[in-house]
C-alpha cells in the first residue's frame, strides 16, 4: 500500500478550508471579533463578484480579491474545486457515502460537462443586460446560505433546547450546569432566536445537490457549477499538467476519476481535472505525474494538443442562449410584483439591491435582533432569499450597522453608524382602529417609550378622558426612520396597531 501523500494533503486542505469557512460564519455575530471578516470568502469568488460588477457597472469594493484564484488557476489548474471549495468538500463527503460509484460513459460526460458553460453564459449574458443571476447557482453563496440559515440555527437550537429540557423539564439544575449554560449563552450560543423564515427551500436545494453527489460523484461540479466553469475555462491553459509515461492501458484511472475527466482512451480533459490526485495512486505502475510545463507529447496520454471545439460551446448553442436570456429577463419583468419590501438600511433602491444581493445570508446571520429574514416570493421570483425586515420578529437596532459591514457586494452599503442612524427604512403608521389608546381609551404608549430617535418620532397627543389625561401616539413623519421597534413592541395582537410601511 502506497502512502497517498498528495491525497492526505488534499484532504487536509479541504478540511482546513471547510473549518475556516465554518469558523468565519460562526463568528459572524454581534461583536464581530473573528479574525476574518465574513465577506472575505465571498469576495474571492469571481463568479458573483464579476457578475455584480458587470450588471451594476460599478467597481465593487474588494473586487481585486476576485482575481486571486483565477490567477492561481492559470498556474495550478482547477485546484480550487479539489482543494479549497467548502461546497466541493461536502460534495466529496456525500460522494463517499456510496461505495460503488456510478461511472458515466464518455459521451455522457462530454455532454453534461457542457451544461455548466451554458449556465455560466446565461448568467454573464444576464449581467450584460443588467441583471445579476450568478447567485442562483453559486456554490460559495449556496454553502454560506446553508450554514448560516440551516446548519448553525439547527445546531445552536438543539444544544439550547437540550439544556432547557434538562434543567426545566427534568428538573436537573445543579449550579455548575447552570453556570456552564450561562457562559455558553453569553459566548457560543448567542441569545437570538434561531429560526429563519423560508429556510426549508434552502435546505431542500442543498439536500438535492448532495443526493445527486451521492449518486454520481461530484455531479454538481461536473455539470452545473458556474464557478467551476470559470475555473475550467482558465485551467485549460494552466502550467501544471498531468503526464503519463508508458501507459499499460489498464483503465483504472478512468474508472475512478471523480470528475469524469479521464476519457475511455485514457486521454484527459484538462479543464475538468481538479487535482484530486486519486489517479496518481490508482495507477498501479505509478506512471502518472503532475508536472509544470510538460514537454510536448508528455501532456495527457497522447499529446498536449488543443482539442478544438471539445468542451466549448457551439455557435448554435450560443444563439439559443442569447434568445433564452432575453426571454428570461422579459420573464423577470413580467413576474415583477409591485409590492415593495422593507430593505436593510441604505438599500432602498429595490432594483439595485436585488441585483447586487448574492444571497450569501451574512447579513441575516449577523443581525442581532434577527429582523432580517430571507424573502420567498414576496418581491417576485427575482427577489428570492433576499433579506428583508420582518418587524414582528425583530426590529432594526438603532446603534448597529453590522449588516452593512459583512455584505460582500455592497448591496447593503457601509454607511457608518452615524449615517445609518439617519437612514430611512420606511415609515411608521398608527392604525387608529386597532390602537388601544385611540380606540379603547386605554393607557399604553409602548411605541413612544421604545422609539430610539432622541427627540421621539412618536409624539404624544394628550386628551382628557373622564377627567384623566390620556396620551395617544402620533407619528412624526420627518423624524421617523422606520426602524420598526414600535411595531415589534406593540402589545396589540394578532395584528400590531402600529406598522412600518416601505417607503414610496
Amino acid at each position: 500500500m502506497k502512502v497517498k501523500k498528495s491525497v492526505i494533503f488534499r484532504r487536509s486542505s479541504q478540511v482546513f478550508f471547510l473549518l475556516l469557512f465554518l469558523y468565519i460564519l460562526w463568528t459572524t455575530t454581534y461583536p464581530l471579533k473573528g479574525a476574518f471578516n465574513a465577506d472575505m470568502f465571498f469576495k474571492t469568488d469571481p463568479n458573483i463578484m464579476l457578475a455584480v460588477a458587470l450588471s451594476e457597472r460599478t467597481i465593487v469594493a474588494g473586487l481585486v480579491l476576485a482575481f486571486i484564484i483565477p490567477v492561481l488557476t492559470l498556474i495550478f489548474g482547477r485546484f480550487f474545486c479539489g482543494w479549497v471549495c467548502p461546497f466541493g468538500t461536502v460534495i466529496d463527503a456525500a460522494g463517499s457515502l456510496r461505495r460503488k460509484k456510478k461511472a458515466l460513459s464518455d459521451g455522457v460526460n462530454a455532454r453534461i460537462r457542457n451544461i455548466k458553460y451554458v449556465l455560466l453564459a446565461v448568467s454573464i449574458a444576464a449581467a450584460v443586460l443588467g441583471h445579476q443571476y450568478a447567485w442562483v447557482l453559486d456554490p460559495i453563496a449556496m454553502m454560506g446560505r446553508f450554514i448560516s440559515i440551516n446548519l448553525i440555527p439547527a445546531v445552536t437550537g438543539v444544544v439550547e433546547k437540550t439544556f432547557i429540557f434538562t434543567m426545566r423539564d427534568l428538573g436537573f439544575r445543579p449550579e455548575w450546569l447552570y453556570s456552564f449554560y450561562r457562559a455558553l449563552k453569553g459566548s457560543f450560543l448567542g441569545v437570538e432566536t434561531y429560526v429563519f423564515a423560508n429556510s426549508a427551500p434552502i435546505l431542500a436545494m442543498f439536500a438535492l445537490i448532495m443526493a445527486f453527489a451521492a449518486w454520481v460523484p461530484r455531479s454538481w461540479c461536473r455539470a452545473i457549477c458556474p464557478l467551476g466553469a470559470i475555473y475550467a475555462l482558465l485551467a485549460r491553459y494552466a502550467l501544471l499538467a498531468r503526464t503519463v509515461e508508458r501507459c499499460t492501458q489498464c483503465g483504472m484511472c478512468s474508472r475512478d476519476c471523480r470528475m469524469g475527466a479521464i476519457k475511455d482512451d485514457l486521454d484527459y480533459v484538462k479543464g475538468e481535472c481538479i487535482l484530486c490526485m486519486d489517479c496518481v495512486y490508482t495507477c498501479a505502475p505509478g506512471r502518472i505525474r503532475f508536472r509544470f510545463l510538460p514537454a510536448r507529447g508528455q501532456g495527457g496520454h497522447k499529446t498536449l494538443v488543443r482539442q478544438g471545439g471539445k468542451g466549448a460551446i457551439s455557435r448554435a448553442d450560443f444563439i439559443l442562449l442569447m434568445i433564452g436570456s432575453i426571454l428570461a429577463s422579459g420573464l423577470k419583468w413580467a413576474f415583477k410584483v409591485p409590492r415593495k419590501l422593507i430593505r436593510p438600511p441604505g438599500s432602498q433602491d429595490e432594483k439595485a439591491f436585488v441585483d447586487k444581493c448574492v444571497r450569501c445570508a451574512n447579513c441575516m446571520k449577523i443581525c442581532p435582533t434577527k429582523v432580517l429574514q430571507p424573502a420567498f416570493l414576496e418581491s417576485g421570483p427575482g427577489g428570492l432569499w433576499t433579506p428583508h425586515l420582518v418587524n414582528e420578529i425583530g426590529y432594526c437596532e438603532y446603534n448597529c450597522d453590522l449588516c452593512g459591514r459583512v455584505c460582500p457586494t455592497g448591496a447593503i452599503p457601509r454607511l457608518g453608524l452615524e449615517e445609518k442612524k439617519r437612514a430611512k427604512l420606511g415609515l411608521a403608521r398608527v392604525d387608529r382602529a386597532k390602537c388601544i389608546a385611540w380606540s379603547a381609551g386605554m393607557e399604553c404608549l409602548v411605541c413612544e417609550e421604545h422609539c430610539p430617535v432622541s427627540h421621539k418620532a412618536i409624539k404624544i397627543d394628550n386628551v382628557i378622558v373622564n377627567g384623566v389625561v390620556l396620551g395617544r401616539p402620533v407619528v412624526d413623519e420627518d423624524l421617523c426612520i422606520g426602524c420598526g421597534i414600535c411595531q415589534n413592541k406593540c402589545p396589540v395582537r394578532p395584528q400590531r396597531a402600529i406598522v412600518v410601511d416601505p417607503q414610496k
Binding site: Y30, K185, Y398, N399, L445, P452, S454, I485
Partner: protein
C-alpha cells in the same frame, strides 16, 4: 406468540391489511396521546410563587440622600448612612442587584443606571459576605448591546458579580392573595428566589407614567409581553412591588434625563443632579425622587395607587430624611 411473529412478518414484508393498518394507527395515536399526557404530568410543572420572602429590615432613617460629584462615593456613603450593607446582606446570601440597563445607550445619555453606582453596591455586597451577586435586566433593546454599551456589565464584572442574560424559560408565575391584574404573570425565578433584592433604578423622564422610578424598574424582572403591563400601569406596578418586596432601593440621580425618556439619546436633555437616594421603602424612595425631579408625587400613577392602598398613609413630610454631602 407465533401469531405475533406472523403479523410482524406480514408487516415487515409490506402485507398490511386494512384492519392491521387501522390498529396500528389507533395504537400509535393512543400511545402518543398517553405519552404526552404522562410527560406533561411528570415534567411540565407550572411553578407558582406567592411572592418573594423579604426579611423586612428597616434602616436607620427612612431616606438617605448623598450629594457629591463622585457617584461611587455617594453610593458608599448613602448605604453607610442607612446602616451599612451588613444590615441587609448576611454571610452566604445570594443577592440580586437589578439596575436599569434596558437601553442601548451610553452612561452619558442617562437612560441607564450609572455603572459606578451598581459597581459600588456589588462591591459592598461581597464585602458583607454575599456568596453570589447576580446582576441582570430584561432589556428593551438587544441584550448584548445594552449590557455592553451601558458600561454596567464591564463595571460589575470587575467587582466579581455574576452578570448574565435572563432566561425566559426559568420563570415562576406570580400569585397574589388578592385579585390582581398581574395574576399569573411570569417573573424571573432568580428575582423571586434571591435572599436580598437591591433595586437600582435611574431617575428619568417617562412618556406614559411621567417618571421612571424604582417601581417601574421592577418591570425588568418580568418576562412575557411586557407591553401589556402598560395597560392600567399604576395598579400593576403597585401589585408587582408588593410581590417582589425589594429590600433596598437605590435611586441613581447622578445624571437625570429630563425629557424624551425613557430611552432619551440627546445629551442636552440630561441634567447633572449628582445625588444617590437610598431607602428601604420603595414608595418613600419614589416619592422623594419625584419631588427631587420637580414633579408632584401624586401625579405619578403608580405612587398614588400604592399610597391609596398602604394601611399607614405614608407621608414624605413625616419621613426621616438625612441629607449627606460627600
Amino acid at each position: 406468540m407465533d401469531r405475533f411473529f406472523y403479523r410482524l412478518e406480514c408487516f415487515l414484508k409490506g402485507q398490511v391489511s386494512r384492519k392491521t393498518f387501522l390498529k396500528i394507527l389507533l395504537g400509535g395515536l393512543t400511545s402518543f396521546v398517553a405519552g404526552n399526557a404522562f410527560l406533561k404530568y411528570a415534567f411540565a410543572k407550572s411553578e407558582g410563587s406567592n411572592g418573594r420572602i423579604s426579611r423586612g429590615i428597616t434602616g436607620n432613617a427612612d431616606i438617605i440622600v448623598a450629594k457629591g460629584v463622585d457617584p461611587y462615593r455617594n453610593t458608599v456613603e448613602a448605604v453607610k448612612g442607612i446602616g451599612g450593607m451588613g444590615k441587609f446582606v448576611r454571610k452566604g446570601d445570594t443577592v440580586l442587584v437589578k439596575p436599569n440597563m434596558a437601553w442601548d445607550r451610553t452612561p452619558e445619555q442617562a437612560a441607564n443606571t450609572d455603572p459606578a453606582v451598581v459597581a459600588a453596591l456589588v462591591e459592598m455586597c461581597y464585602a458583607s459576605g454575599a456568596k453570589k451577586v447576580n446582576v441582570l435586566d430584561v432589556t428593551c433593546n438587544n441584550e448584548k448591546l445594552c449590557y455592553e454599551h451601558s458600561g454596567i456589565a464591564a463595571a460589575v464584572k470587575e467587582k466579581g458579580a455574576n452578570v448574565y442574560f435572563p432566561d425566559h424559560w426559568n420563570v415562576v408565575k406570580a400569585h397574589f392573595p388578592y385579585e390582581s391584574p398581574m395574576e399569573g404573570w411570569p417573573v424571573l425565578r432568580d428575582a423571586v428566589d434571591c435572599d436580598v433584592f437591591i433595586n437600582v433604578p435611574v431617575l428619568k423622564h417617562h412618556g406614559l407614567t411621567g417618571l421612571t422610578l424604582s417601581m417601574k424598574n421592577l418591570m425588568g424582572v418580568c418576562s412575557g409581553t411586557r407591553g401589556m403591563i402598560h395597560f392600567n400601569i399604576g395598579r400593576k406596578l403597585a401589585d408587582l412591588t408588593d410581590f417582589l418586596k425589594p429590600d433596598l432601593t437605590v435611586i441613581d440621580a447622578t445624571r437625570v434625563l429630563r425629557a424624551h425618556g425613557p430611552s432619551g439619546g440627546d445629551v442636552n436633555d440630561v441634567e447633572k443632579m449628582d445625588s444617590v437616594i437610598v431607602a428601604t421603602d420603595p414608595l418613600l424612595a419614589d416619592m422623594y425622587a419625584s419631588k427631587l425631579f420637580g414633579k408632584p408625587p401624586m401625579e405619578i400613577s403608580y405612587i398614588s395607587e400604592a399610597l391609596a392602598r398602604s394601611p399607614e398613609k405614608k407621608d414624605l413630610a413625616k419621613a426621616k430624611v438625612v441629607e449627606l454631602s460627600t
